[in-house]
Symmetry: C2
Subunit: 190 residues, 2 copies
DNA sequence: TATTCACTATTCAAATTTGACTAGTTGAGT
DNA sequence: ACTCAACTAGTCAAATTTGAATAGTGAATA
């Protein structure tokens, strides 16, 4: 599963209400050319699919006074919000980096403890893959691509980095950074 | 561009001749569940596209004696080989990790010096992105996803790792590992 | 020997992604 | 006033990806 639905739902959730081009603008402004590469077309398609699945509804009212080309504004339904939470949770568990990125972007929508649980799951899965990669045989003059030391090496390094990054993220969350669901600014003790 | 065409062409190049399922088997055996995630359907589609573009040709002869369901065997044409080289070169330049992986898998098909040039280009591009990421503002309580310190941080770390991995790879190639195009086993000096 | 399971091999429809196109609005310069 | 470029907003066809369906063969087993 790609990150498009998660990003689109998240963009509308943040705004409360939004039309396609606004969602596109928001997402591309977040992306920084790197962690997202969502095209306009995919966004409009996702909006159609989400609408037909009753995750979002088109709002006719809104600023009819506004200028510019006509547009359709959408709001997220209850069902859509549930879907958003579900996508967000699997993004944080997934070991796909694009999904993790989107997950981090929206993680404060979940309770702190829940995020830590999900990242713990992710960590376990990353470690499994890393371990598996270490079991693969390599050959100095590789007889087939899967045995290329550089290929295996670069992937082991990647998973090592992902493990480290996940642990650092968890520590940062554990140490009280950011405001998660149900938390208030300026807390003293508790 | 995805890695499918590169992988399919590469798989046929390695075999000299191959049918779709063989290509699928080879690719999935290389992948180790991690660096490729190519589905059967995509391979057959790629074969059709490559055939219609005259990158490969179907061979009717071959082992007619072989058992099992009927199949179509393909060979790579001159044009296809040129395309393969071109895809391989852009894969090694690209800062997409999937493409780099496929590029590494086949890199010995190019001359050593050429691979180093391509990786040098990749390195420059990675450094540009890393520098760009450092210019992005962050906020401790992020007002929008793009300003999330964890998000930016995790991506900076990722590019740092990619830069490091590319440099290590280049050093390994420079130090004489592997046999590239035009090189022979068991060389003494020169 | 009939059944079931696993493997080989391909095809196809449906979902998704991409990139190009249309079209209205605003603002800057001439 | 006129033109041109840039931005806003959306649509659409074509390309690609996905996952399920089909179908043949061999091997095991009850």
């Amino acid at each position: 599963m790609s990150a498009v639905r998660l990003l689109v739902l998240g963009a509308i959730v943040r705004r409360g209400i939004a039309h396609g081009y606004r969602v596109f603008q928001d997402i591309t402004s977040w992306k920084a050319e790197t962690w997202t590469n969502v095209k306009r077309g995919s966004i409009y398609h996702a909006l159609e699919k989400l609408e037909s699945g009753e995750m979002i509804v088109a709002e006719d009212s809104g600023d009819l006074t506004k200028l510019g080309p006509s547009r359709t504004e959408y709001k997220v339904t209850e069902k859509g919000r549930a879907e958003f939470i579900s996508l967000l949770e699997s993004a944080l568990k997934s070991n796909d980096f694009q999904l993790l990125s989107a997950g981090i972007a929206f993680m404060e929508i979940l309770p702190r403890q829940r995020v830590l649980e999900l990242l713990e799951e992710r960590l376990a899965s990353l470690k499994d893959v890393e371990h598996f990669l270490h079991t693969l045989p390599t050959e100095q003059i590789p007889s087939e691509p899967s045995k290329h030391p550089e290929l295996i090496g670069v992937w082991i390094g990647y998973f090592e980095y992902m493990i480290e990054a996940t642990q650092k993220l968890m520590q940062s969350i554990e140490s009280g950074n950011y405001l998660f669901l149900g938390e208030k600014k300026e807390e003293g003790e508790i």
